[in-house]
Amino acid sequence: MATPEEIEALMARVALGDRAAFQSLYATTSAKLFGICLRVLSSRAEAEDALQEVFVKIWRNAGRYRVNGLSPMTWLITVARNHAIDRVRARRAENADLDVVNQMPDEAPGPETSAIQSSERARLIDCLDELPDGRARAVRLAYLQGETYADLAARFDVPLNTMRTWLRRSLLTLRECLSR
């Protein structure tokens, strides 16, 4: 993986319409972003379509990542994640009867994957671990599967407002932990 500075330099050139830089950016980031699309969508064909659309967005918006103060890699991840989430939600809306939600694989990462330990990640994981049972999982399900309050309430079998209160409280705890 390229350094953040390299990615930032590529993004700056993509913003100016440099197609060679766009190809380099694709070469350095597409496997990561495709992995995210696959994780969210659990379908290769859909993940491929999503990835294509994500790079179209990246081309068009590369100049704007600074607007919200995100680092370049976070911006790329967020664009891919949000786009995949939109797709998965659209699919769920279409297949509401099929109860796709409950067929989603669970998110517990295997031990072999924890090899890549960035300090950022370690901090987030530590803070998630401080949450009461189930709450950390709800945060992961929202982020990586696009589950809504309604989905989560159904999954954890609690009333919607209870779910909302739980999660909001968890976010506050998480924020305090992360800011420590």
């Binding site: 496997a31 659309e53 100049g63 995100l70 976070t74 967020t78 901090r123």
Partner: protein, 231 residues
């Protein structure tokens, strides 16, 4: 949730927004506030950075080999005939139409939030025929800024490079002197910006500080075409 500005609440609200848990109406209201409140933007950015760490253990998977071609086709149309099409700047016109059709699908998306603004930038390459001078320019209507990067070449010693806008049969209008640094931003007045789509951009050799007459006085070193719409 109804318009409170309790800082503790905002921290949670920004997290809910980053996770995509807000209703479309709530999300829109949040975005509106975010565009006016830097502190809120910072809260959101903090969440986005922290939550992105949840993808650290997502396995990387190489996309199919034809993916770059698919993306290129979606953006630039089929089989670009590089030299001619690129020089004419026509590659930029086709994608506009393709994108417009894709966009109706995209807009459902909560990540316009990330992208803030939806007028695609106008981009042009202003180059000498022998590429001895090459400048990339991108105009973003959201902030009225024309971002320029000098890719190749430079002003002659003791001289300056000035950028001109030529719309249709009109006389060249100065967009400003290019910075000595490689990268820079020229602010474009709205009445000039209106004329950018489809216009020609040119760079001329001028005395320091730019043309004293308001019209190009030195050689035109490079030209380029602005597409008629952004992509």
């Amino acid at each position: 949730m109804s318009g409170e500005t309790d800082p503790e609440d905002d921290r949670v609200l920004a997290g809910e927004y980053a996770l995509g848990l807000l209703s479309p109406e709530e999300a829109r209201a949040f975005e509106e506030r975010m565009s006016a409140e830097p502190a809120l933007r910072e809260l959101y950015a903090g969440w986005a950075e922290d939550l992105a760490a949840l993808t650290d253990d997502v396995e990387e998977v190489a996309p199919p080999a034809d993916m770059p071609a698919r993306i290129e086709t979606a953006l630039f149309g089929a089989a670009p005939r590089r030299s001619l099409w690129q020089r004419l700047g026509l590659t930029w016109i086709i994608p506009g139409a393709v994108l417009a059709s894709l966009l109706t699908f995209f807009v459902v998306s909560n990540d316009l939030l990330v992208l803030d603004g939806d007028v695609p930038p106008l981009r042009a390459e202003i180059a000498a025929q022998d590429d001895s001078l090459r400048v990339l320019a991108a105009y973003d209507a959201d902030d009225g800024a024309l971002r320029v990067t000098r890719d190749a070449g430079a002003a002659a010693p003791g001289r300056a490079l000035e950028l001109w806008l030529i719309a249709g049969q009109g006389a060249p209008v100065s967009l400003g002197v290019l910075p000595e640094a490689r990268d820079g931003v020229l602010q474009v007045a709205p009445e000039l910006a209106e004329k950018l789509p489809g216009a020609t951009l040119a760079i001329s050799d001028e005395p320091p500080g730019g043309s004293p007459t308001g019209a190009p006085t030195g050689d035109v070193l490079a030209t380029g075409q602005v597409p008629s719409q952004g992509a």
